[in-house]
């Protein structure tokens, strides 16, 4: 276990990662009988209370699903994310943030192709009489969801108008509601890559085929949720960020898919058709509405022998959704801000996909932090998501909420709050004035610089830095050691 970086780079599948997690005490098997509802939900929610240390849970005895396996919480704690990145358990969120930020644009993608006949994902193949319920041990994720949801699917598709372009293939996480044995609806918006592709296919009346990958390389699950450019490949991006090769193969309907996924569902858009979808308990902790969404017909399913169905608990936080995408929401904002303002020292957008963000910055001049905040609102993610922004000085760790509260308490003057009315908003933000439109809040909790009157305060400067971080960890280890 003292070669964690190499072990992380050697991961090529969910199974590899579960083995690594298990070796590190970060995956458990739940073999007691459990009912799909409410048993699975209750256990997943109980586990996610421990955002730092929760293990992945593999269920292998769900009543009515004999022989089937379900995994939840694979990305459900910071310790699991640390192991994915080749870092030890106990690595701080701040350290993980800089690990990811440091990999940005730093590595080359390594993509290899596996012949279909040798790809583990194609070990078993179904092309007729398909019943998704016969393959997937599904359960109602939140009690008023409109049906049985696949919440952690990486959906791959080619651009229907440019199908030979590798870069324009899209891989994204979209929620899927099973609509009978061989159909599902997919929820997206026009701004998402999949929304663009559906609209283009329906406008030009050309087919749109997709491959839904379940139980994937744990790096892809993270990076498929990261907003990158339309012509950038999520596979290349995931490989570069992991610093490791990604093995691809072809699905039966001609799409590049991961060769080592547990399950791949091939499907085709039913052009122009919409079916009632929802509600679904979403990441702000409230249910989406009922809407009419595009529907896909399943054409084939490939899976490994004895496949593991991987799913997620999502709802009122803290949940796996937050650890899955939190740092990869924060890191792009940081990188984009640094292009204009190298004074930005860290970005914490962990909360509800960045509905609240905390940015630390070295003030260049009086009021500078407010300028940086306005730039953050114009980053790709900021346009829709960054609703509440708290600006702190560089001597405040935005990942340590006790320090953030100290800055709010001691450095904020009440007239340092800006409200920007009637701005774009995420449609599922329950505080929106109307869905899709709401107000933004900027709190400048940085200290004052001349020409502002700066007062007479002189800061206490307790020791900080690597030495203190190491001492803190050692004290914790001594404390744990005293028990054993």
């Amino acid at each position: 276990m003292n070669d964690l970086p190499n072990r992380a780079r050697s991961i090529s599948s969910l199974r590899d990662f579960l083995e690594l997690l298990e070796d590190s005490g970060q995956a458990i098997t739940w073999s007691d009988p459990v009912m799909p509802e409410p048993g699975v939900r209750n256990i997943a929610v109980a586990a996610s209370r421990d955002a730092n240390g929760a293990p992945a849970i593999v269920f292998d005895n769900i009543t009515g699903y004999p022989g089937k396996r379900l995994a939840v919480g694979v990305h459900g704690s910071w310790d699991n994310i640390a192991l994915l990145l080749g870092r030890p358990k106990g690595t701080t969120i701040r350290e993980l943030f800089f690990e990811i930020a440091g990999r940005w644009g730093d590595q080359e993608a390594q993509i290899s192709y596996v012949p279909e006949a040798q790809a583990p994902v194609h070990e078993c193949r179904l092309e007729q009489d398909i019943n998704l319920y016969d393959i997937l041990p599904v359960y109602r994720i939140n009690e008023y969801d409109g049906g049985f949801y696949i919440g952690k699917a990486s959906v791959a598709s080619r651009d229907p108008l440019d199908p030979d372009n590798f870069g324009k293939q899209n891989v994204g996480i979209y929620r899927l509601q099973i609509q009978g044995p061989d159909s599902f609806t997919l929820m997206t918006i026009p701004a998402h890559d999949m929304g663009r592709q559906i609209l283009a296919a329906e406008r030009e009346k050309v087919p749109l085929k997709i491959a839904v990958m379940l139980g994937n390389h744990p790096g892809l699950a993270v990076f498929a949720a990261t907003p990158i450019g339309y012509e950038e490949s999520e596979y290349s991006y995931a490989s570069a960020m992991m610093g490791a090769p990604i093995r691809l193969t072809k699905s039966g309907n001609g799409i590049d898919i991961l060769a080592d996924s547990e399950i791949v569902i091939e499907a085709e858009l039913q052009l122009g058709e919409r079916e009632l979808e929802g509600p679904f308990g979403e990441f702000p902790g409230s249910y989406s509405g009922v809407r009419k969404a595009p529907i896909f017909k399943v054409t084939a399913v490939s899976h490994r022998r004895d496949p593991i169905f991987e799913n997620i608990y999502i709802g009122r936080g803290w949940t796996e959704h937050d650890t899955l995408i939190g740092l990869h929401t924060s890191a792009p904002i940081y990188a984009q801000l640094r292009q204009s303002f190298p004074e930005v020292t860290a970005v914490n957008a962990l909360y509800q996909h960045g509905l609240t963000g905390i940015i630390s910055v070295k003030n260049r001049m009086a009021g500078f932090a407010k300028t940086v905040a306005l730039r953050a609102l114009s980053t790709p993610h900021g346009v829709m998501y960054l609703k509440n922004l708290i600006m702190v000085d560089a001597d405040v760790d935005p990942f340590d909420l006790n320090q953030v509260m100290w800055a709010l308490s001691t450095r904020t003057r009440a007239d340092d709050v800006i409200v920007l009315p009637n701005m774009p908003a995420v449609p599922i933000d329950p505080s929106a004035v109307v869905p899709g439109k709401g107000h933004r809040l900027i709190i400048d909790a940085t200290s004052y610089l001349p020409p502002d009157p700066v007062g007479e305060a002189h800061l206490v400067t307790p020791p900080t830095g690597d030495e203190i971080d190491a001492l803190s960890k050692r004290i914790r280890e001594m404390q744990l050691g005293a028990l054993s």
Partner: protein, 74 residues
């Protein structure tokens, strides 16, 4: 006894999509309402699937399906 009345929109005529078995015996059935697309398992707690026990906040009006917006319009 499995009911074919939808717990969400109270329409009848739900169809059976799947039956879970344990040691050969059926232990639950997944049903789907063709009117509002609600899917449920007959072993779920009553507050999720029984129209008498279910919160009205999550009901769907089978007589006014036009009220639900269609996403992705050209």
């Amino acid at each position: 006894m499995t009911t074919t009345v939808c717990g969400r929109c109270k329409s009848s005529g739900a169809v059976t999509d799947y039956q879970g078995r344990q040691d050969g015996a059926v232990v639950w059935t997944i049903l789907r309402c063709p009117t509002c697309n609600f899917s449920w398992r007959d072993s779920e707690p009553a507050r999720a699937i029984d129209p008498a026990a279910r919160s009205a906040d999550f009901a769907v009006d089978a007589g006014d399906l036009q009220r639900y917006p269609k996403i992705l319009q050209q």
